[in-house]
């Protein structure tokens, strides 16, 4: 069968991407160099969750309006210049995907859209998916995102048509000698820091809780005992968010409570140590 390599053993088949012949590659190069007309897009859904489709249609609606660049979604692959593959390529959609590819006239641009189309996304290790458009077809442009925003989609089209350059580059970091992680909020005792972070997370979740805890601790470190309340009030007034005010007020109360208790506890511990030594 086309694009499939039969295997012996437990792995029965393996997908081989269809090859592009030299002539088509040359045609494509010429097309991309002086593209003057609008590009028509045909959308192939290879088993996606439809979030990608919603974003594609958001891209052609008036707010983002990809049609001002002549990019138009068409209903047949025979009209298409660009093929947009979404979804993790389920086994059932492999042949229809290849048929759509064959039906589109050369030269054509294949775009793999969304996390699933690029690498299988969260479905990458399912038994029934091929895990990415590039497993079955030669892909020209990858647009990552789950789903990509309309703006990211427009950027992807621009990259595909050679109007904008890609910004992302592969990175490889190797740990340097004497590379040390810096601690945050060293001005605050660790116990108090843990308490503040824990309280903030219980109010606002991990992500926003951490942001709120960081901001609160920055205020605490900068402030002196006599102006800490004024500083917190100024910060809350600046933000003007009743939810934030509620959380910060509670954090402050928790800190004050712990400080009161902490001193008493320290005395008790000191007494205990003295007794042991005595």
């Amino acid at each position: 069968m086309r694009g499939i390599k039969p295997l012996i053993g437990n792995d029965h088949t393996q997908a081989i991407p269809l090859a592009v012949d030299e002539h088509t590659a040359k045609l494509k190069g010429t097309l991309l160099k002086d593209i003057k007309r609008s590009a028509y897009v045909y959308r192939v859904d290879c088993g996606g969750c439809n979030a990608c489709e919603i974003e594609i249609f958001a891209t052609i609606t008036p707010v983002f309006d990809a049609e001002r660049f002549g990019i138009k979604v068409v209903a047949s692959p025979r009209h298409a210049d660009i093929l947009l593959y979404t979804g993790a390529v389920t086994r059932a959609m492999r042949m229809p995907a290849i048929r759509a590819f064959d039906a589109a006239p050369d030269p054509k641009i294949v775009i793999s859209y969304g996390a699933c189309g690029n690498d299988g996304g969260i479905f990458h290790d399912l038994y029934c998916v091929w895990g990415g458009t590039d497993k079955i077809l030669p892909v020209d442009v990858y647009i990552p995102g789950c789903p990509p925003t309309p703006a990211a989609t427009i950027y992807g089209f621009a990259v595909a048509l050679g109007l904008l350059d890609q910004k992302l580059k592969a990175k490889h970091h190797i740990e340097g000698e004497k590379e040390v992680v810096t601690l945050k909020h060293t001005g605050i005792p660790l116990e108090l820091k843990v308490l503040i972070e824990r309280e903030a997370r219980s109010f606002a979740g991990y992500r926003h809780g951490q942001i709120i805890a960081d901001e609160f601790m920055e205020i605490l470190v900068d402030a002196k005992p006599d102006n800490v309340d004024a500083k917190i009030k100024a910060y809350l007034d600046k933000r003007g968010d009743p939810r934030l005010s509620e959380i910060i007020t509670n954090l402050n109360a928790a800190v004050l409570e712990r400080l009161g208790q902490g001193q008493a506890k320290k005395v008790a511990v000191n007494q205990g140590c003295a007794e042991l030594e005595g």
């Binding site: 008036p62 707010v63 983002f64 309006d65 001002r68 996390a115 690029n118 690498d119 299988g120 996304g121 969260i122 990458h124 290790d125 990415g132 590039d134 892909v139 020209d140 442009v141 990858y142 647009i143 990552p144 995102g145 789950c146 990509p148 925003t149 703006a151 990211a152 427009i154 950027y155 992807g156 621009a158 990259v159 595909a160 904008l164 890609q166 910004k167 992302l168 580059k169 592969a170 990175k171 490889h172 970091h173 190797i174 740990e175 590379e179 040390v180 992680v181 810096t182 601690l183 945050k184 060293t186 005792p189 660790l190 116990e191 979740g205 991990y206 992500r207 926003h208 951490q210």
Partner: protein, 187 residues
């Protein structure tokens, strides 16, 4: 006709200027995860949290290297890695222009070296994680006299530490808690 034109004029232009002008995104926008390798302790919390397996860590005990890899192709930009990162090395940025023509550019890698056990010379934990836990202990008020002892302890693999902490072993830290008087007092 005039009424229609008036309505159109009133509505103004709703189409964004992007890509001719930069697009403003909201505060909570989850774009490309920005990785700061200097702040990473290679604890692998992000790898465990990643629902899409976009983050991968591989430990090679022979070469003493732990490799961290992020595949932006597979990433679903959920921000779970940012939630769990203890040092804030991973943060989701507002960067969304990620389309590439070359798939290799979607991969980001980092290599971290492992600490070798003082007793058996086996690689057991990332160097930076060991240093980080010591720094935390110091921040928590570890006395200067104890730093050396703890450095030795933290640079020992769990296996050897367990052996050393046997009743007749060397380097026992909690010995005073094992006396009969202490147990009686606690009970």
């Amino acid at each position: 006709m005039f009424k229609l034109l008036k309505t159109i004029a009133k509505a103004g232009e709703s189409t964004t200027k992007y890509p001719f002008a930069p697009l403003e995104v909201g505060d909570a926008f989850r774009g490309k995860p920005e990785f700061e390798p200097e702040q990473c302790i290679a604890c692998a919390a992000c790898m465990r949290a990643c629902p899409a397996n976009a983050l991968i860590m591989e430990t090679n005990e022979q070469t003493g290297i732990r490799r961290w890899q992020l595949s932006l192709a597979r990433c679903i930009y959920c921000g779970r890695c940012e939630e769990v990162c203890p040092t804030g090395a991973l943060k989701l940025s507002a960067e969304f222009e990620l389309a590439v023509t070359n798939k290799a550019d979607l991969y980001q890698e980092a290599e971290f070296s492992l600490s070798h056990c003082l007793a058996c010379d086996q690689a057991f934990a990332p160097k930076k994680a060991v240093q980080y836990s010591l720094d935390l202990l110091i921040q928590d008020g570890l006395g200067e006299s104890q730093v050396e002892q703890w450095t030795k302890l933290l640079n020992t693999c769990p296996e050897c530490r367990r052996k050393q902490n046997m009743l007749e072993g060397e380097g026992i830290l909690q010995g005073h808690m094992l006396t009969q008087e202490f147990t009686d007092e606690r009970n």
